[in-house]
């Protein structure tokens, strides 16, 4: 996918550069080590799916990528820019420069399990908030882009509605529009369908699949194995904080090597 128009609806960068690189990431909560050295590289256009059982550390990994959790150790490079960390004096590390973190975060489109739309704003206000107030875009321009994005996720008619008055599926689609509005280098999905009623899962997965097909770089934590197999270019199976197995989806799901993964695939499918 090498479209090079400036439209926000298309993949923002056409080069096959490295979008995200994580190496040897550790995360410790007190005595509990949740991540024990996880590495990952995503090139532009890659769709990396993280799968694993509850407590495997997959959500924590995603949250470390945009520093909602501070990794205990490890290197994170986003857009070729390495995040500077300093010791927090208690065995961990914290970002050295808040502005660097804020700048990097404003290029990562996070989609949460519980949508986390701002309740005091309409859908349109949610979508244009970050472009205007963080990225400094002009309001007219942001609204024009917002209109296209809401149209794309099928919510044009709801642009002036507050999130609480919408279904979970609609809220999650709006949250995806909010993420797209910042023209993210990488989209981060943290179990985007886990909080949805079963009949609403499909509409959200369809939007995500369209984004994957268009060549967006995505990191996707999910319980939807069938979906991961369909959209991902690379699948990582995490178990107890380490990468137990990884590879192309057909290989991983078709002929799993490790006993744990075989068992995991049996229990979830």
């Amino acid at each position: 996918m090498t479209m090079s128009t400036a439209s926000p609806l298309t993949h923002p960068s056409a080069s096959q550069g490295e979008a995200l690189h994580v190496s040897n990431l550790h995360k410790r909560f007190g005595a509990l080590e949740v991540l024990k050295g996880v590495s990952l590289t995503a090139k532009d256009g890659d769709v990396v799916a993280l799968i694993g059982g509850s407590g495997s550390g997959k959500s924590t990994f995603l949250r470390c990528v945009n520093f909602l959790e501070n990794p205990t150790s490890g290197v994170i490079r986003i857009n070729g820019e390495e995040v500077e960390m300093v010791s927090d004096g208690a065995g961990g590390q914290v970002p050295a420069n808040r502005r660097q973190i804020e700048r990097i975060r404003s290029r990562l489109g996070m989609v949460f399990q519980n949508f986390n739309l701002w309740q005091h704003m309409t859908l349109m206000q949610n979508v244009v908030e970050v472009p205007i107030h963080v990225l400094g875009m002009k309001r007219d321009e942001a609204v024009a882009i917002g209109e296209q994005l809401l149209e794309r996720v099928g919510l044009s008619a709801k642009r002036d509605v507050y999130p609480a008055f919408l279904s979970g599926g609609q809220q999650q689609r709006a949250a995806i529009a909010r993420a797209l509005a910042i023209q993210p280098r990488v989209m981060l999905f943290d179990e985007p369908t886990s909080a949805l009623d079963p009949e609403l899962v499909g509409e959200v997965l369809k939007v995500i699949a369209d984004l994957a097909a268009e060549g967006r770089t995505m990191l996707l934590v999910t319980h939807e194995m069938k979906f991961a197999r369909e959209v991902a270019s690379h699948v990582i199976y995490l178990h107890n904080g380490i990468v137990e197995e990884e590879g192309p989806p057909d290989e991983l799901f078709g002929s799993p090597k490790s006993e744990r993964l075989k068992q995991f695939i049996r229990t979830v499918s």
Binding site: R105, R107, L108, L117, W118, Q119, M121, E129
Partner: protein, 250 residues
């Protein structure tokens, strides 16, 4: 039959005392009301500012900021307001003048209005701290997290997300504080500030029409409350625009 003969002349004479221009005392009462409202508004606004700082200090501050905020809210809420007002007013003005004198400046007369606002605002701030702290804690954490995840800095997040999102949870408590502040102005009568209560007492003392004037003052306080309620209702409706009604959730 004219109206005058319907109502005894004595009653008319009494009511004439409320006339806004002398020899009526109505003008004094209205002036007192204006002063009361100025102080109530000023101290409420100051209380909101202190309260916001206090709530942030308690929730996100370092150990020193947290301790200072805790001491402030504990002490102010422990001591009767009347005592605090006497203490802050007399001790406060005295302190300022001592400082001025020792620095070689002349003593100043502290403006009663400003002193009243500062004293009551200081008291209001302690209560507002707790109201706002509770309201901020009531915001769904995910909304704060989303703001962080999209690269908002602390000030932007406070202005765009935290304060508007906590407003629906804070308003009932803040409305209480506003109504309390309109009536706490009466406490300033003890330091000789001519707000509504003191003006009423003077008018009543001069005319001996105690019942009339205190009823009139009561009616004025009631009007302020009714008007406030109407405004607060509108603000609350606006602040809750994104939240489904509590009735609907039942």
């Amino acid at each position: 039959m004219t109206d005058a003969s319907l109502v005894p002349q004595a009653v008319l004479d009494l009511l004439a005392l409320l006339s806004p221009s002398p020899p009526g005392w109505g003008g004094n009462l209205l002036r007192g009301l204006l002063h009361s409202l100025q102080i109530a508004f000023g101290s409420f606004a100051m209380g909101l500012m202190i309260g916001t700082l206090g709530a942030y200090a308690k929730l996100y501050g370092g150990p020193i900021a947290r301790d200072l905020a805790a001491i402030y809210t504990t002490v102010v809420r422990a001591v009767p307001e009347l005592v605090l007002i006497l203490l802050l007013y007399y001790a406060g003005t005295d302190l300022i003048n001592r400082v001025l004198e020792s620095a070689g400046y002349a003593r100043v007369d502290i403006n009663g209005l400003v002193a009243g606002i500062v004293v009551l605002g200081f008291v209001q701030g302690a209560y507002a701290t707790e109201v706002l702290r509770g309201a901020i804690k009531a915001i769904p954490q995910g909304e704060i997290e989303a703001a962080r995840a999209y690269g908002m800095g602390p000030m932007l997040m406070m202005r765009r997300i935290t304060l508007p999102a906590m407003l629906p949870y804070a308003l009932p408590g803040l409305a209480n504080l506003w109504l309390i502040s309109t009536k706490d102005t009466a406490l300033l009568a003890v330091v000789g500030f001519s707000e509504l209560t003191l003006e009423t007492r003077q008018a009543a003392g001069a005319t001996k029409a105690y019942f009339l004037f205190f009823m009139a003052a009561g009616a004025l306080y009631l009007l302020v409350t009714l008007f406030s309620n109407a405004i607060i209702g509108r603000i609350e409706k606006w602040a809750r625009r994104g939240l489904p009604s509590a009735k609907g959730a039942r």
